[in-house]
Every structure is written in C-alpha cells, then in structure tokens.
C-alpha cells in the first residue's frame, strides 16, 4: 500500500484517525462521507470549486524567492508559498469553500465552525455570506480576547461569534462546543471543521481541499528554480496547511517534509502545544492521534503565543507520517517565532501570521546547515494583521 492511498474506507491512517463520536453523529458523518464521495467524482462540483478558488480566492497563490531573508540566514535559498495573499489572508479559505459547496449540495442553510486564531472563523463567515447561509462561530474566550480584530471581521460578515468559557477557553473547547451544537442541530446544520482533524471523513476532505497548495508548488517550483525543493516546511496546528503542502510531495522521496509545532516556552517547560514532539497517542475530538495528556488520560492545557497552533491534538495523517518516517516534526518556541516574525517584516516587507512565523523560524535553523544552491520551501500559511495586538503586547507597546 502506498502512503498516498490513505485513509482506508473507515478513515484509518494505520492506527490513527477513525470515527470516535457519540451515536447521534454517526448518521451525519456517514451522510457526509457519501456526499463527499459523490461530489469529488462530480466534474461539475470540482469545476465550481476550482472556479471559486481562482476568481474568489485569487489562486494560484505565488511562490516568492525571499532573497534578502535567504542572505540574512546564510545558507539555502528560501522560497515562500504565499497563502497569506489569499482572500481573507490565510489558507483556511481553500477548505471553507469546499465545505460550503458541500453544505449547499446537502441543502443546509446553517453552518457552524470552531476557530482558534479566528482565521477559520473569518473564512467560514466569508463563505457563509458568499453563499447566503447563517453562520455561528465558536471561539474560546481567551482567543476572543487575543484575536479581537478577527472577531470584529466575523461580525462584519454577519456571523454570530459565541465565546466558549469552558475548560482552557481555547481552540479545543471551541471544538467541543461546535460538536455539541452539531449533535443538537444535526439535521439543519453543516459543521465546517477548520483543520485536517476530527472524525472521518473530515481529515480526508480537508486535506483534499488543501492539497491545491502542494499541487501548485509542484508546478511552480520547477518554473522558478528548475527543480523541486530540498525541504518543505509548514507549521502544524491541527495540520491542514501542512498536509495541504506535504501530501502532493509524499511521492517525491528526495523532498524532506518538516512540520513545525508550537514549542511555547520550550518542550522542557511543559508549556507548549507539541503533541507530535512530546505527546502520546490517544482519542480526542473523534479521532485517534498523538495528544497532550496527563497520566490519567486527561487532556492537558496547551500554551502557544499563536492561537492557531494552541491545540493539544494533531490531524491523524501527521501521526501516521511521523511513525512512517516520511515527515519530521520539530518544535519552535514562542521567542524564536517572534524573532522570525520580525525578520520577515524587516527583510521582505511581509507581516506573517504568528503561526506561519514558526515555519519561518525552522527555516532559519535549517538554512545555515544547507548549501547556497539548496532550496527550502516554506508554507506561509497566513498574514499577520490579526496578530499585531499580540506582538505589540509582547514588545511592551500599547497601541
């Protein structure tokens, strides 16, 4: 079996993935699986998806040679896949368009979403406005506070934002609450899940919608550089931007795939969000994967400067790729991500999302170990306008 043939028909990536939900959701997930299966084999559906990506999102997103940054880092040439230039400012919109089109096929007039950084919430509110659907976004109370520009954007787009005050008040709790809403309103509502995680078929369909990123790179890199990169780097929260760029590269065995988790205050401190680097397998949010948990199997609180990476689990396909040795996973700490954030601002005139800054920081570590003619491709998953309050606060500046 090839690594690219997964998941199996029940959503398993080896021991990972699957469908671990209460009975009430089983029928809805089966319905979604059947519908997605039809949709992806329907040329009209795929044509509309591609049309929207081109004319509404603005794809293909460019690949950009960050020459000054490469010089500064002193080693390999760094290229950026500019997902930050997409409509709404991140890769998240690729997936929300796909899922909104599925919702429309099912005749659902209400969509719900969970969000951490607010990028997926904004992307969901955007497509809900675009297709005329009601939209409710669940967001941890702590994230509502630290991502206030995105909360306002969602409201402008007509969405209702519900702050979630249970548990750690971050992304995982927002996901719990979205699931509860879905269980309650399963007949009227489509759940637009924001990352390549959750019960089958979500990890598969989110990946498929995000694979446009990697497929474009495979065309663009030879045009720009005459070949494919030596390494591809992406940040990993739930894992959607990373799997979107990794998956098409899996058969290119010479291309190293490096996922970057949030190291927070450092792995040794315990205050991080790096389940692949420092967790163990378990079951949460409908699937089996590496998790951050204590000795009783309780999920532990995560810490990251970046709301979008502040999640104790990770999409099941990444757990599989880690065990299979096809992808490597590392952690970047808050301070390293902040430094990379400033580097990109100053040397390239690009304000990156704090999530994406983790990937840039890994390029900063890797580049000097490589030769000048080697190539690193970084998935710049989003822009940083949403993060300026956080960055100001860390720098001791009041806006």
């Amino acid at each position: 079996m090839k690594l690219t043939d997964l998941p199996d028909s029940r959503g398993h990536f080896g021991p990972y993935g699957g469908i671990f939900v209460a009975e009430t959701l089983m029928a809805a997930l089966e319905e979604l699986r059947v519908e997605y299966d039809k949709a992806r084999n329907d040329p009209a559906f795929m044509a509309e998806f591609e049309y929207e990506l081109k004319h509404y999102v603005g794809r293909p997103s460019p690949v950009y040679h960050a020459k000054r940054l490469s010089e500064q880092y002193g080693g390999a040439q760094i290229y950026l896949k500019r997902e930050d230039l997409n409509h709404t400012g991140a890769h998240k919109i690729n997936n929300t368009i796909g899922q909104a089109l599925l919702a429309r096929r099912r005749g659902k007039k209400r969509v719900i979403a969970e969000t951490g950084a607010g990028q997926h919430g904004v992307a969901s509110a955007t497509v809900a406005a675009r297709y005329g659907m009601e939209c409710v976004v669940y967001m941890g109370a702590e994230d509502v506070a630290r991502q206030s520009p995105n909360v306002f954007r969602m409201k402008l787009l007509g969405a209702t934002v519900v702050p979630v005050s249970s548990g750690s008040k971050t992304l995982k709790d927002a996901l719990n609450e979205a699931m509860r809403d879905w269980v309650t309103n399963v007949e009227s509502t489509f759940y637009i899940l924001g990352t390549a995680a959750g019960p089958h078929p979500y990890p598969m369909l989110v990946r498929d919608f995000q694979c446009v990123i990697g497929r474009e790179c495979i065309m663009q890199m030879p045009e720009l550089t005459g070949r494919q990169p030596d390494a591809v780097i992406a940040c990993v929260g739930g894992g959607s931007n990373a799997i979107g760029i990794f998956h098409p590269y899996i058969p290119y065995e010479d291309v190293r795939l490096i996922g970057v988790e949030a190291g927070g205050s450092g792995i040794a401190s315990g205050k991080h969000a790096a389940p692949l680097s420092a967790g163990t397998p378990g079951v949460l949010h409908g699937f089996r994967s590496y998790l951050m948990q204590d000795e009783n199997g309780q999920i532990i609180e995560t810490h990251s400067i970046s709301a979008g990476l502040d999640y104790p689990g990770v999409g099941p396909e990444h757990s599989y790729l880690k065990d299979a040795g096809r992808a490597e996973y590392v952690a970047i700490n808050d301070d390293e991500a902040m430094a990379a954030f400033h580097d990109l601002c100053r040397f390239e005139g690009i304000i990156p999302a704090l999530e994406s800054s983790h990937a840039v920081a890994q390029a900063k570590k890797l580049a000097p170990t490589l030769k000048k003619d080697q190539i690193i491709l970084v998935n710049l998953s989003g822009r940083g306008d949403k993060d300026i309050n956080t960055v100001a606060k860390v720098s001791g500046i009041t806006l």
Binding site: R10, G18, I19, F20, V21, A22, E23, T24, L25, M26, A27, A28, S166, G167, K172, D173, N176, M179, R180, V183, T184, N185, V186, E187, T280, G282, V283, L284, H285, G286, R288, L291, Q293, E295, N296, G297, Q298, I299, I300
Partner: protein
C-alpha cells in the same frame, strides 16, 4: 448471567421497570461518591451509572460538564473511580455499576489492564460514549472476555439498518438516547420514542433503557411505560450542584425516591 442481566430478569419477574440514576464520580467531593451510591440504592436505584470525569466531555451539556470539571478539580481520575466502586462493593454486592465516560482515559490505561481492574473492582458494564461499534471490535471483545457488559447508545438519528449492528456488539442493555443533543437537553416526546423503541425491539433482544430529558416523577412514569429502564442524569447532578452545604445526600435521596415512585406508577 451478568449482574446486569440478573437485575433485569428479577425486575421483569416482579413486573417492574429499572431506575438507573447517573452521578459523576468525585462530584461534589471525592469522599461523597460512595455514600451517594449507597443512598441512590436506598432510594430505589436498580443500577448505578457512574460518570468517569473527562477534560473534554464532548457529548455532555453544561450541567454534566460542570460536574466533570468539579470532579477533575478534586483530582479524581479513572483509578479513583475504580477504587470507589471497590469501596461500594464492600457492602453492596447486588446493585450493578456501569461506568460511563469517554475513550481516552480507558485507552490511556490500556483496554486489557482497564478491563481486569474494572472487573476486580466490581464494575459490571462500561459505556464509552465516543466508541461506536465500528471502532469497538477489539474493545468490546476485551470487555466481554472479562465479564464486563459493553453498553452502547442508540439515538433518534440511528437508521434501522444500524440497530442490528449496534445490538450485536452490545451486552447488558441498550441505552436509547431519546433526544438529539447533548445531555441535559429539554423536552422529550414519548410517542416518538415509543415508535422508535418498537423498531429497536425488532432487532434487539436486550433490555432497552431510555435517557435524556427525564426530570421528575411524571416524565419517569411516561418513559417507564415504554422502556425497560429509565436513566436520569442531569436532573440529579443539578440537585447536587444547587444543594446547600451538607444537604446534598438528603436532596438526592428525595429526588431519586420521587423518580422511583414515578417508575413504579407505570407498572400499576
């Protein structure tokens, strides 16, 4: 026959229905659970459902979520729940105990190790809310091998074609969740439930318990008319949550006795 099977058989012989109250282990305090379990039995419980606290109770409404949070704040984990069951068993060897919780604490302990420890502690059945039959192949077999009944849920959204599959994996009884939604949701339509139960019984010979939305003697009676067992959770947790200091055990006793009267009124 398992203790759960015996309990249902004995009730049937007396033309009675089962009352199954739910409490979360460790709520309101670590030392309260075993006394509460005994009081539940005194007040008329036939089977006890004991919630295993979990950090992310995805299928539960706010009332049971808060109970789980209180229990976790009291540092109660799966091992403590097993110890509580063993303590309860010192003086009660007849009332079945069903653990209800989420997969991860059990998965973390290991299914085999858990099944052994649970059996030794005197647990009779296990309901892991987020392990549907599709994912339960290894799990149910391990439970059954250790004499634990794997309890499964059916819901209003379960298509008829799935009922048989769920029933085949299940032991002890089937738990029909009478509403869409999380625990603690509002009203329940007994006519709709009755129609659904008739369908369930065509595919399943196990006793059927009904839960979600039962809050007083009247709703307990209505459900007892159509089901083999009445499961009550959030209503009891609310009582625990709002009882003044020192009143909790008494309040729960009164409430469960009232529910018992409701259940018994159905078989008059």
């Amino acid at each position: 026959m398992s203790r759960i099977g015996e309990t249902f058989a004995a009730l049937k012989a007396r033309n009675k229905k089962a009352l199954i109250p739910f409490i979360t282990a460790g709520d309101p305090g670590k030392g309260m659970t075993v006394p509460l379990m005994h009081v539940l039995v005194e007040a008329g419980a036939d089977i006890i459902e004991l919630g295993v606290p979990f950090s992310d109770p995805m299928a539960d409404g706010p009332v049971i979520q808060r109970a789980s949070e209180r229990a976790l704040a009291n540092k109660v984990g799966l091992r403590d729940v097993l110890a509580m069951t063993a303590e309860f068993r010192k003086t009660n060897t007849t009332t079945p105990v069903v653990l209800m919780g989420y997969a991860n604490p059990v998965e973390h302990m290991g299914y085999e190790a858990f099944a052994q420890a649970a059996k030794a502690a005197g647990v009779d059945g296990v309901l892991t809310v987020d392990i549907p039959p599709e994912e339960s192949a290894g799990v149910s077999d391990v439970f059954k091998a250790h004499g634990l009944d794997p309890i499964f849920l059916l819901s209003p959204t379960t298509p008829e074609s799935r009922v048989e599959q769920v029933a085949a994996a299940a032991g002890g009884f089937i738990y029909y969740v009478s509403l869409k939604g999380v625990t603690g949701s509002a009203n329940l339509d007994t006519e709709e439930v009755a129609a659904k139960l008739a369908m369930v019984r065509r595919h399943c010979s196990l006793p059927v318990g009904v839960g979600f939305g039962i809050r007083d003697a009247a709703t307990a009676e209505a459900v007892a008319r159509i089901a083999d067992a009445v499961v009550v959770g959030s209503r009891i947790i609310s009582e625990i949550e709002t009882a003044p200091e020192g009143e909790c055990v008494n309040r729960v006793k009164h409430l469960v006795a009232e529910l018992r009267r409701g259940v018994d009124a159905a078989s008059k």
